[in-house]
Symmetry: C2
């Protein structure tokens, strides 16, 4: 019998782009299909996907894709993967009701209408090839989050997705402790668990504890209130709405994704807004300041978000002023600190009062802390443990937590993207590494981050470009027109006629030298000019723009 | 009599590039000349300086530049300002001994040897024009920090520079409380105070409290120890050396600025290292692991720093391994979090143990907390207060602190860069705004951030460039050679012959259309091609590279 293989293609040694492939008897189930957002050094790149070359090679063997919940880092790569592999290669995509609704909306935007998207009710096991697939209800910062249990002949693998053990969730529906315990009693083979908050001691605060704090903060406000949170955090939005209702304030939703998510959430019954309470942004000025709560996107300082635009006094409908209070009901995702702080500082400059988690507990994380990870381990007591969803530090800390509850260190596997774990009756071991890493999305195309054009972009962004066009006679090789010299992205010089004149002279000289050395073949001549002029430019300007000679023969 | 003018040109509404101009009777004293490091969106920019246009306009009226301490955000712009204004325009630069030594080293690098740099002993008042200039000893995270008292006929202005009130500094030399109190008794006119930690309650921990914690952490280490801190934090380095000595470990300094600063510090007696304790990096392998402490640059995850290179297994002398402990004796400056976290994560991946301020108090801030800012206010009881060194939020909070100790809200001035405060017998008020903002350093040149080339860089970095070279007959306007089409920085396409073929065809078509419409004049033709091809490229590629048509007439 072939071993069971668990292959993480994303989410290990990083935060984001989660994707795990579970394989048995030559057939694959893919759990999650997430993306990451580019960092500032990925110039002009729109999105980062897991390198799914392995899926491309095994496209005929895919049984199903299962999505744990609707966040971008678990769902966002789905359209790109489906488009690349072909809709006919993916027999079915499973998820909870909200997850499926959000996937549908994404796939529609990509005009991928033929894919079979199926809501998998909790506690129902569907059979796909060698796998029984089951969703187990969990709590997280979006409704309808689930862990995925994959039942096989060799045992059951549980991929937790993102979770916390919220004992008092807003919808009154805690994680399915009973089913997790049952899986533990049956003997769980492998736990692949969320490590995001492995570095935080204790237990995460309950989502429903945020509401009273919001109400208290709101109660102190005399002017308008703007609350910003993640648009997908439907239960948070519910609590803002409830606090507003309590104080007799109307609610205005601002930002495209906020309106969209609240709409989907209302259709599926995850959020209830009293009749007549929502008002459109254009009616804001019809209500007095103390009668308004604005719920806005932009908690991460995103450049085009509603809150960022308000902070820059650039929002079409809402002009913030002294007396307004802005509540950040979210924390900064690592990497966004600068954008968030800049937004906050602009709000102070306008004269707003700003309330963040440093001032009041107006946010609760969606990821369980150390004691919750231990609870998961103690409920499911797995034979093997493979921490997921975290940088190396968090995987390491999650491993320590597993050890602390009695898991044998030899049974804890700290993995890497692309490194498959194989399990059979003889035990568990690392198998041969497969290709993994990042794929970049640029516009509508996807490709390899090692693409030379991306190195070029870095060069262009750091020092600009210096283009030389030389026109030479095909017969004699002599220059038949004055060389053109163009600078782009070289600051403080482009209008400097004397520098441009010097450059033209340098090009002429270089051409003469080339003629003297009888460099005639066009590629060689371009190379000659490149080397000669790159040196000249550095000596003269102490900069290294890209030097691009174009030789036209006529 | 003309009023006293206090004009901040940097450091208000931002962290960094501190510069304040104090003016009386047409003469100027400049306090500090600092820089900022560029953020990721300032593509290829090396440094950010305060816009000192005002100084350029008033170059003949400068009495002196006074530098409070040797950090880059107070000293770093000095060579650029001097080079721009001319060495003959700056009669003298004052500072403490270490500050002057560090300024000397900087100016030497810029070949500015003629400037008069003068050490101003504490408690000595030098007269320059209408000003008596005095340094008052303060404590900070670099030795020799001072506040600047400017005595005038209208009263005394105190610019604090960066400070904390360390009651037990490492060198046993606390801030000059007596002189501050004396200034208060004499009646201080205006306090311009550091706001960096206005948001932290209580009192900052003493620098000398860090040593015992370092010793305790070191004592638990069995392998090598790497400590990273700011190279200018000489007293921190002293404490690392002391802890190493206590445990019989040798010390190796790694990183150019670490060696340079320790050298200057030793020459001035700020740091003492026992004979035979320092070893060069090449001898590291001669000592066993438990006999070594490495002190390294790179606490901010700087790309070329020693620690970052070690974390990337790219350091020429030191290869980290499982068993090593890396101690971050510093916190991340806002904006550096990602680089620091990435460095830490790579260290975990190597198998190192990492100790940060989250694990043990191995760092103390150099900036006073709220109670220290209140102490400063209570010692000096100024007539007017102008918070400095901080974003709008911190200036606002510093203002609240001033109010809390009894300063009249009307006497607290929350300023902005470029906004002068005027004070005379009739009171204090804002005067007319002068030019302020940023100046960029790119290579050896400085200039305006609005330079079109910087916009071009953004475009080039986001979408690359599409260059078209068309060669036409001067007589007929007809194309006389096949057009050249070149893409740079357009990912996933540059080797795509069919796209390049399509592009060439589009150019030919565009040229034909131009000929039909009798567009002949070269600038017009280039514009025609630009507009036509930009549209074609967007329709075809859904990207907006810079389109650069070059028409060569022969």
């Amino acid at each position: 019998m072939t071993p069971l293989r668990i292959l993480p293609l994303g989410g290990l040694g990083e935060i984001g782009k989660n994707m795990t492939v579970v394989e048995l008897d030559g057939r694959l189930v893919v759990v999650d299909c997430g993306l990451r957002f580019p960092t500032a050094d990925m110039l002009g790149i729109d999105l980062v996907l897991p390198d799914f070359t392995y899926l491309r090679e095994r496209a005929d063997d895919i049984e199903a894709i299962v999505i744990t919940h609707g966040h971008e880092d678990h769902l966002g790569a789905l359209p790109w993967v489906i488009r690349d592999l072909g809709q006919d290669k993916i027999p079915v995509v499973y998820g909870g009701a909200l997850t499926v609704a959000m996937a549908r909306s994404k796939l529609d935007e990509h005009k991928l209408k033929e894919i079979r998207l199926e809501e998998l009710p909790h506690e129902k096991v569907v059979r796909r090839g060698a796998f029984g697939i089951e969703l187990v209800h969990m709590t997280h910062s979006i409704p309808g989050a689930a862990a995925v249990a994959l039942h096989t002949e060799l045992g059951t693998v549980l991929v937790t997705g993102d979770y916390k053990f919220d004992q008092t969730p807003v919808d009154g529906h805690p994680a399915d402790f009973a089913r997790l315990a049952e899986l533990g009693n049956e003997g769980l083979l492998l736990l692949c668990g969320d490590s995001t908050n492995a570095d935080r001691a204790g237990t995460s605060p309950s989502e429903s504890g945020v509401g009273p704090h919001l109400l208290e903060v709101f109660g102190r406000c005399e002017g308008r209130i703007v609350v910003t949170c993640f648009a997908s955090n439907i239960h948070r939005v519910q609590q803002v709405v409830d606090a507003a209702a309590e104080l007799g304030r109307k609610v205005c939703l601002v930002g495209r994704s906020m309106r969209k998510n609240v709409n989907i959430g209302r259709q599926l019954g995850h959020i209830e807004v009293p009749e007549g309470m929502l008002i459109p942004p254009r009616e804001i000025e019809d209500f007095s300041d103390e009668k308004l709560v604005i719920i806005s996107t932009g908690s991460q300082g995103e450049p085009l978000s509603a809150l960022r635009r308000m902070a820059h006094r650039d929002h079409p409908a809402i002009e913030l002023r002294k007396g307004d209070t802005v509540v950040f009901s979210a924390t900064s995702i690592p990497g966004n600190e600068r954008a968030v702080n800049e937004t906050i500082d602009r709000l102070y400059h306008i004269g707003c009062t700003v309330v963040t988690t440093a001032d009041a507990p107006v946010h609760a994380s969606g990821h369980g802390y150390a004691d919750e990870l231990k609870l998961m381990l103690n409920l499911t007591h797995p034979r093997y443990v493979m921490p997921m969803h975290g940088d190396h530090r968090r995987l390491h800390l999650h491993g320590q937590l597993a050890e602390s509850v009695g898991v044998d260190p030899d049974d804890i596997f700290l993995g890497e993207n692309g490194l498959p774990l194989e399990i059979d009756d003889a035990g568990a071991r690392w198998a041969e590494r497969v290709q993994s890493g990042m794929i970049f999305v640029d516009g509508v195309d996807i490709g390899d981050p090692a693409d030379v054009a991306l190195r070029d972009r870095r060069m262009l962004s750091a020092d600009g470009i210096f283009i030389v066009v030389a026109t030479i006679s095909e017969q004699t090789g002599a220059s038949v027109a004055a060389p053109e010299v163009i600078l782009r992205g070289v600051p403080f010089l482009e209008d400097n006629d004397s520098i441009l004149g010097e450059m033209r002279a340098a090009v002429e000289k270089s051409l003469e030298r080339a003629a003297k050395e009888e460099v005639r073949e066009i590629d060689l001549l371009q190379e000659f000019l490149h080397d000669d002029l790159a040196k000249w430019v550095y000596d003269r300007l102490k900069r290294r723009p890209m030097v691009l000679p174009v030789v036209v023969e006529i």
